[in-house]
Symmetry: D2
Subunit: 393 residues, 4 copies
């Protein structure tokens, strides 16, 4: 990262956030990530749909009270009118609010950092795509795991041919802690993720599998053509599917499997991948994210770590400490903010900025994710039949 | 193990082998395993279909030349007539010979140790079942990985409820070395495993997946009801499928996945499992077989090893060294011979012997395996449709 | 952590830093750590002994130019006179400047966060101890690894008797990357750490071993009585010792070993410990810091992670994400700032604050570290003779 | 291994054993190892100093009753007179009997496989050396861990310069199970290893540290010049030292550390090494023996396994299965018997046989081990003073 951009820009990037207040794990994660490297400040927010929580959350982030809004509509309108208005907004609400909120900010010339799944359905996703393209705003979908240097290393190596042609893609995203493996007796105690009324029965595909699906494309460059899906409900009293087995067909006789679950009891985070090619495979596990293992056929495994001389450019520029000092999830997430903020700063300074966006998940990723969700939902309804999820946007 | 049975029996168990001569990896493995603990001797054999190889193989095992046979038919007939005849025969040929060979020995009152897949098809498997039952001979199907103390530990723990009710069964058997990942230019150089003419296009199901399928039932006690299968051919010039993705339905809303492959390039052995239950999961990897990991929900992983005080009876009686001295594959395989030989000795001594058979794979396992193969072949032909593999024998 | 303290306090803790500007790895680490959680701001600095670097460093941290000082003397004087003066100063210079700098700030009522080794020699360390005690200021010595939740977990478990009485303490701090394993041809290219003139030949004891020595006491509560040291110079052209083997005697027949090195070629960070007691041991490795392994005698290993229900209070309050999301080095270091800032805030608010200091390394740790350095230096000069490093302050 | 030697030789190598009967862990280990690969038979023995145990042990090994002896003197005399006499004898008694027993067999032209430590003291060791040289018999000291393919791989790589010049040798042999970590109340229940009267107070040096010491020389080719030793007694009621910290000086400014312990509670086997050179290090752990890790400076770790194409000749010829099938301790130990038996067979057949001995520990290793024991005992008595253990034989 290039901190001289900060002095040249003369200030930090000003961010606002919709959702993400006290009690929101993802909100706290965004706040740590945006702040860690000094490129961004959080200066405005509509941090909760409950005004008291919104204002209390803003107070502990030392947000000016007049920039603590009770609705994102108010926030969009008033921020747009300020001379010191926010440069970008973070959308960290449940997914049904993503599109309506993002729309208001994009239309006012404010860049957007949006949580996944990108929208409630494919139609909204396509509208988002059109609006991002027509406004020319920057848009980052926080498939946050792409911020890990070793995920970027995997991408660079696979695309450089370290495995020969890719043959098989094996993705797992299967957490299994108390909060996801059991369903409380009282429906009111259930997390919004597990409410069929607002989220739909197949919400696991967007909440969980969309990360795996995007990562598969991120590291291999391949976009799935067809999906076969089998969904299950395991936890008693559950209203939504809590387990998904997917098989994917990619172009060129490449096959894939994905496992998304809320009930992988005993797993902690449970996000990992293995990509097999003609001559070897690569594996990575988000619970041990500092290492990427390349295993060639009939030869010794090679264990890459952040910061080695042999690592790729994208991995080497996404770090702070030398190998042996783990950077973890918080600073991986922060890499997205560093990239995004550097792009905003460079653009404002009239410098080239595309290179800062090269690793960031895009609105196109969001559309592809929604296509997967609709195709997998349909496949499951048809007993696992192969269903087209072709990603022509 | 109880070596006092050897002195009571007054000799080692006399074994013969069909197939398994020089150049046969599995034959060499059987020979090490049967000999390591002193319970068995190899005293006869029809070790190859090529007489020269058969006799040369016999010579280096110091088998009496007159007990080195050129056909298994001759061996069955002549051994049956000897006063010092073999107690049991090992069938280590390609699978199409298993049933005809086993039949000859069973009919002559000789116990059988048979390689997997048990037979060429389900009809043969059912005939084998009937003959084993009607003759009352001992029969062991060498799903050798059940000899690992930690596989036995997994079985004991799961059946004792360590995970609560089982929910998901995830099996992988995906080697990927040179010998399986590439196909030689000259068809004559291809391993018999990869010849469609003799083995059928779906031979991967018997050669590889049958191990995973049997292990799933071994550790959980559950027998699959339905299978959905997708098979692929990746390696150029290949005549048979070299990759299989299976999804299984077990009774009681239990789901399973199996991945069998010859083209998991970079994998060495690639056999592992994870069993998830209501309250945690258990995982084991044959490449690191001394350890079994129990991971409860939201709590620390517990790493069991062979020889700890907390391990189950079946694990504690299947070992030679204390924890920290790995026993590996050879001695795990040898556990099958120790169990089988102890049963033969105890039976001959008029003692109870059923306890020695409790961990050994059975002829019923073989029938179940053939049902899976036929159902998965049919499912693949029908685009992955759910297909019954119910295991009523 | 309790972010409501921030809103109650009404602002962040204002920090200044001496040293740590552009090109200083430790400076960058402090800046990330202090900023990540929103408890602190960096508002002043004398960030380099080279004015140009100092001001450029300040600019990219958006420090007000009038608070970018060219000397720490000017900084101490002018900051003390401001109404918005810094609450605390970070001393991140080479060690010979620690005491003179810290003295100026302590005398002006400014709390101190000081890098290790605490001072140039024992006399300075004892003066520091006296001044901290007489001024009543808060003082934190950044033995940063104590910020790891699993180091705190180790301390809690050992002190709660998880191992029975401690018997052996085994510490390793042995990095070995290019920067430390080789010595450049040109003396001018050598890091200040490797310059005997300014640092003394045994500087490895303070730069490296002091971390291990403090951690041993931190987790066990034991303070060493005697040391036997053997130092070596391996790298050609080196002026200072680059390897130290120490053996320690602790009270109650407890023995310890420490290995500090710059030439453990191939190691990355190389900081780990194993503590053995009567009934088991505990091990931790800073390169895999999310896990703490308890291995009881003849029983399964138990793998603790940050965020499990079974973890200790000190570990549970030092985290941001649930288990499975690694927090790494940056956020472990940040735990020191969270603790220190919470103490400052609570103190200012008239609330109890001692609890926030309970895990932080102290000025007494600094004195003990200097005693070890002097004793080990003397021991080495005497051929490894046992030398008193008793820690009566 | 070359099993065609067996057919050429026409029989197995005939072995006798002194000690090692029922209840002897090491005896059982030898028996599995000698038998596994078919090169050897156990045909005679004086398996216990208690006749009843000796004969019962012989019976379960199916040793001819007339070759089950009550003393090794009787065995040496009577075996020497037989036409089918043993080719070699295994000495598996406590160390005070090694020399007197070995002497009788060597003098009668019988080769010797001897447990470690080689003798009771240095004088005996030197006598053994002279007798082996004067008789020209084959002699193997069972430092069994040299049988691991990955230990042999380490040796080949280090000697080929994979680390540049060696700088530091770090050896640990620290088991800690119940049997070694606690001392029973009743002195009669104590293992002979822990009886000062017969073994001397520093027996840990021979019983445990001799393995580490020999392995250091085995893999690096370096012989220690000086030792500094600190011994401790931790377990209550113990008569002998149960922990040893050693520091070693090797030629050429190479340093070493060794830790030998009986009280590393929670460790299982606890035997591992790390060898550091100018450009990287190599590490191996006997509890995970299939892998050898080479870690170059600032580059990715490379994980060698038995059976890869890149492994050294010595590793590739010491195995049975391809990578991914662990061979473990039993078959590593068996490699010593394969090597030794092949040498005996080749010698008898008039073929070159030196190549079979190249990896086997020698009588010279035994002498060096005794010098270390005497030097370390003396060093400890002198407060850890550097003491010569120069290995001029």
């Amino acid at each position: 990262m290039d901190k001289s951009l900060i002095s040249a820009f003369g200030r930090r990037v000003r961010l606002g956030m919709v959702g993400g207040g006290i009690g929101s794990i993802i909100g706290e994660t965004h706040i740590i990530a945006l702040r860690a490297d000094g490129f961004c400040d959080l200066v405005a927010g509509a941090l909760s749909s409950r005004p008291e929580v919104a204002h209390r959350s803003a107070a502990q982030e030392l947000i000016d009270p007049e920039r603590s809004y009770e609705t994102y509509e108010a926030m969009a309108e008033q921020e747009a009118a300020r001379p010191d208005r926010i440069d970008a907004v973070i959308i960290a609400t449940p997914p049904q609010h993503h599109w309506p909120a993002a729309k208001l900010f994009l239309e006012r010339g404010i860049d957007v950092i949006c949580e996944k799944p990108m929208t409630r359905d494919l139609a909204e996703a396509q509208a988002m795509l059109q609006l991002v393209r027509s406004t020319g705003r920057l848009f980052c979908l926080t498939h946050c795991y792409t911020g890990y240097p070793m995920a970027r290393q995997a991408r660079a190596m696979i695309r450089a041919g370290a495995l020969g042609a890719v043959r098989m893609i094996d993705m797992t995203f299967a957490p299994g802690d108390h909060g996801t493996s059991l369903e409380p007796e009282d429906p009111a105690d259930r997390h919004w993720r597990f409410q069929a009324a607002s989220m739909g029965a197949t919400s696991i595909l967007g909440e969980v599998n969309s990360h795996a699906y995007q990562m598969a494309t991120y590291v291999t460059g391949l976009e799935a053509e067809q999906v076969s899906a089998n969904l299950s409900m395991f936890a008693p009293r559950r209203e939504v599917y809590d387990n998904a087995y997917l098989t994917m067909r990619y172009p060129g006789n490449v096959m894939g499997r994905m496992w998304a679950s809320y009930v992988a009891a005993g797993n902690d985070q449970g996000f990992s991948f293995r990509i097999y090619g003609e001559t070897g495979h690569i594996s990575w596990n988000e619970e041990d994210p500092e290492y990427l293992i390349l295993k060639p056929m009939a030869g010794p495994a090679v264990v890459y770590a952040r910061g080695y001389e042999a690592t790729a450019q994208a991995a080497r520029t996404s770090l702070r400490y030398r190998a042996g000092f783990p950077e973890g999830y918080g600073l991986a997430f922060a890499n997205l903010y560093v990239d995004f903020a550097q792009a905003i700063m460079a653009r404002a300074l009239g410098r080239p900025f595309a290179q800062y966006l090269s690793e960031l998940p895009t609105v196109e990723d969001g559309v592809r994710g929604m296509k997967m969700i609709e195709a997998a939902t349909l496949s499951h309804a048809n007993g696992g039949a192969w269903t087209d999820c072709g990603t022509r946007l």
